[in-house]
C-alpha cells in the first residue's frame, strides 16, 4: 500500500455527485418520492479496499448498482478508469468484476460452465481454460467444478461468485456482502484473498457489508452511508481515533457522588448507568479511581471500553436506527 502510494496511485473509481430518486407506489395509490442516494461523491484508488457501511436501506445497494450500470442515476456521473459508466458502458466496465447483492448464478449449469459463460461475455481473457482452472483453485472449488451449481452450498456459491468476478483480473472489484454464507474459516480465506488482490496486485476493491468487525479487519478505509447521505469517509485509524475517546466504566456504591466528583475534578463527560458511572476520557483510570476514593466513594471495579468501529458507526449514523 505504502509502496503503491509512492508510485503514485491511480484513481480507478470516481463517483461524482450522484443522486438517485425514485417514486414508490403507496397503498393509497399515491407515489412517494424516495431519495435513495443524495449527492454522493467518493473515490476508490488502486490497491485499496474500501468498505461501504450503512444500515439496510441506507443506499449502499443503490450506489453499487449505479456504479455497475445496473441502475441509472437521477443526476451525477460515475467514472471508472476515466470512462463514464453512463455514457461509455462498454469501455468503463471492461475491467470491473463484481458480485451484486447475492451470487445468483446459473443453477442448472456446472460451476465451470458458469465461468466459461462469464469469461465469454466478459471478453479479453487470455488462455481462458487455464484461467478458469486457476480461479477455481484460488476459490477452492476446483474439485467441485463439474457439479451443478444448484448442488452448491451458499458458501460455495459465494466463492463461485468471487471466481467469476476475478476471472479477468479486474482493476475494480465490487463485492456485496462477500462474507455471507461463509464459515469463519471461509471468511478469513476471503479476507486474506482480497487483501492479497489489493495490496499485492493493486486491485481497487469496494466491499459492502454489515459485518462491522469484518470490515475493521479487511478494509483500509470505510465510507459510512445513512439515509442516502454519505456521513463519513475515513481510514480505519482515523475513524477509531476521531469519533470518540475511550470510556471508563466504574462500578461504585454511590454513583451520584462519583458523578459529581468526576465532573468537578476532571471536567469530563460522565453518565450514570445503574450503579456504574461511565466517564468518557483519555485520563488514566488510576487517576479517576484515586480521586473517587479520596472523595469517599467505594470503587468495586474499573473497566476500560475501547471504541470499536461499531461504536463509531453507530455514532455516525445516530444509533444506526435500523437493524444492522
Amino acid at each position: 500500500m505504502i509502496e503503491l502510494a509512492r508510485m503514485g496511485v491511480e484513481t480507478i473509481l470516481e463517483v461524482r455527485n450522484v443522486s438517485k430518486t425514485y417514486k414508490d407506489l403507496q397503498l393509497n395509490g399515491k407515489f412517494k418520492v424516495i431519495n435513495a442516494l443524495i449527492n454522493a461523491s467518493f473515490e476508490v484508488s488502486q490497491g485499496e479496499i474500501l468498505g461501504f457501511l450503512g444500515p439496510n436501506g441506507a443506499g449502499k445497494s443503490t450506489a453499487i448498482k449505479i456504479i455497475t450500470s445496473l441502475a441509472a442515476p437521477t443526476s451525477g456521473e460515475v467514472f471508472i478508469e476515466g470512462y463514464s459508466v453512463q455514457k461509455q458502458k462498454e469501455l468503463a466496465l471492461r475491467n470491473v468484476g463484481g458480485v451484486i447483492e447475492s451470487p445468483d448464478l446459473y443453477l442448472e449449469m456446472s460451476g465451470e460452465l458458469n465461468l466459461k459463460y462469464f469469461a465469454a461475455i466478459t471478453g479479453g481473457i487470455d488462455n481462458v481454460e487455464q484461467r478458469i482452472a486457476d480461479v477455481l483453485k484460488i476459490v477452492g472449488l476446483y474439485e467441485r467444478r463439474k457439479d451443478l451449481v444448484k448442488k452448491y452450498s451458499l458458501g460455495m456459491k459465494q466463492r463461485l461468485g468471487i471466481a467469476q468476478a476475478i476471472l479477468k483480473k479486474p482493476k475494480l472489484l465490487i463485492l456485496d456482502e462477500p462474507a455471507n454464507g461463509l464459515d469463519p474459516v471461509g471468511i478469513k480465506e476471503i479476507r486474506d484473498m482480497l487483501k492479497h488482490f489489493a495490496h499485492d496486485e493493486g486491485m481497487a476493491i469496494m466491499v459492502s457489508s454489515h459485518q462491522l468487525a469484518e470490515m475493521e479487519l479487511m478494509c483500509d478505509r470505510v465510507i459510512i452511508i445513512n439515509k442516502g447521505v454519505i456521513v463519513g469517509e475515513k481510514s480505519i485509524e482515523e475513524l477509531r481515533g476521531g469519533v470518540s475517546v475511550d470510556s471508563i466504566i466504574i462500578a461504585t456504591d454511590n454513583p451520584q457522588l462519583a458523578f459529581d466528583i468526576l465532573k468537578e475534578q476532571f471536567s469530563i463527560e460522565v453518565t450514570i448507568s445503574g450503579n456504574d458511572v461511565i466517564a468518557v476520557t483519555n485520563e488514566p483510570a488510576a487517576s479517576l479511581t484515586r480521586e473517587l476514593v479520596l472523595g469517599g466513594v467505594n470503587v468495586y471495579g474499573v473497566k476500560k471500553k475501547e471504541v470499536s468501529l461499531e461504536d463509531a458507526f453507530f455514532e455516525m449514523t445516530n444509533g444506526g436506527e435500523h437493524n444492522v
Binding site: 462498454e90 471492461r94 470491473v96 445468483d104 448464478l105 443453477l107 461475455i121 471478453g123
Partner: protein
Amino acid sequence: MFKKLYLWEIRKMISLKGIIVLAAIAVLALLLINAMFNITMEFTSEMYENEAQLPEGDENGKVLEDPEGEENDSGAEEQPPAPEIPFFGSYNPVYGSLNEDGEIELSHLEAQLAKADIEALYKETRENTVKNKYFYRSPDQIYMLKSWVTAFRYIVDAKKYNVPMRPFLGATDSAFESLTSKTMQGFMSTYLSLMGTAILYYGIVCGANAYGKEIKKGTLKMVMIRPIARNKLTLSKLLAALTVATAFFVGAIAIAFVYGAIAYKSVSFTSLFVFNASKAFTASSNLTLILVVLSILIQTWVYITLAMAISTLTKNNVLGIVIPIIITTSIPMLILTQFGVGRFLFSYSAATLIDYFAIGSSMLYGGSNFWLNLAVLLSYVTIFVSSIFIIFKKRDIA
C-alpha cells in the same frame, strides 16, 4: 463479441429437458398421425364406396369437376386418366361450380355476373351483413364472394375448364384434407402442424425466459455488469429465441420429410389459389405445404416477440408464457370479435395470413384483407420488439 453472446444465449435456451420433451412429442406425433390416417382412410374409403364415385384405379381421391356427383361415366372415358387427387371436398355449392363441359354453374351468382353487376351484389351483401351486425364478427361474406368470382373468372378466362384443379380452401380445410390423404405431403402437413404447435410453445417459453427468468432468478445482474451494451444483449436474446425455435422446426421438417418419403407416396397436383380475393393462380399443391410451413414459422416468430415483451414488461416469465398461450387458444379472439374488432387482433392477424391465399376461407373476418392483415401484424411485432428494447434500455435492474 456479439457472436459469442448470441451463441451463448442459444446454449442457455436449449435445455436437455426441453429436447427430451420435444423428442417425445415428435415420436408421439408420428404414432398419432399414423393411427389417425388409418381411421380417416377407413372412413373416407367407406364414403367413396357408398357413393360409388371412385374412378377406377384411383384409390385416393376423385376428380374435381364433379363436386355434385352428376358426372356420367362416358365423360370420364374421353379424358386422359384422372390424376390421383387426394381430395374429396368440392367447390362451394352456394356460389357455384363447374360442370363437365366447363360451363360455370353459378346459380344465383350467374345473373349478376352476366350483368357484370358484381358491385351491386357486394353492396347488397355488405348491407345485409352490416345491418345484421355480422360483418365484422363473422366470416367475411364479401371476401368469400369476391374470391369465388375471381376463381371462376380465372378458369373461364384461362379456359381451364377441363383441367383438374383442386381449390385451396384455407388452413383449416388444408389440415382436414391432409388427414384424409395418405400421402407424403398429407403426412408432412399434419405432422408439421402438430409439431409446429409444440415448437410454438417452446418458442414462447424461450422468449419469456430470455429476460423474465433471468430477472426473476437474479442472474441478469451478473450479466449486465459486463461490458455489454444493453441493446446488444437484447438483440442477442431475441435472435437466439428465434433461432432455437426455427432450428427445432427445421428439424421437424427434416423428420417429416424423411419419414413421409419412406412411409408414403409423394403426390402433387395442380391447385387453384386466389390471393387476397383478387388474383387467381394455379400452382403445384406443394405450395399449400410451403404456405402451411411459413404460416407456422411466422406465428412462432411473432409469438416469441409477444412472450418476450410481456415477460420483460412484467419481469415475470410465467406471465410471459401463460398470456401468449391463452392468446393462441383463440378464446380471447372469439370473445373480442363479438365487438367487431376481430380483424385488428394479434392472434387473428398472426393466424390468417395463409387464408388470404384461399378461396372463400371462413377464417377471415369482415373488413380486412391481406395487406391490412399484414400491416396489423407488422404493427404488433414492431410494438413488441421496440418495447422490449426500450423497456430494457431504460430499466434499473433490481
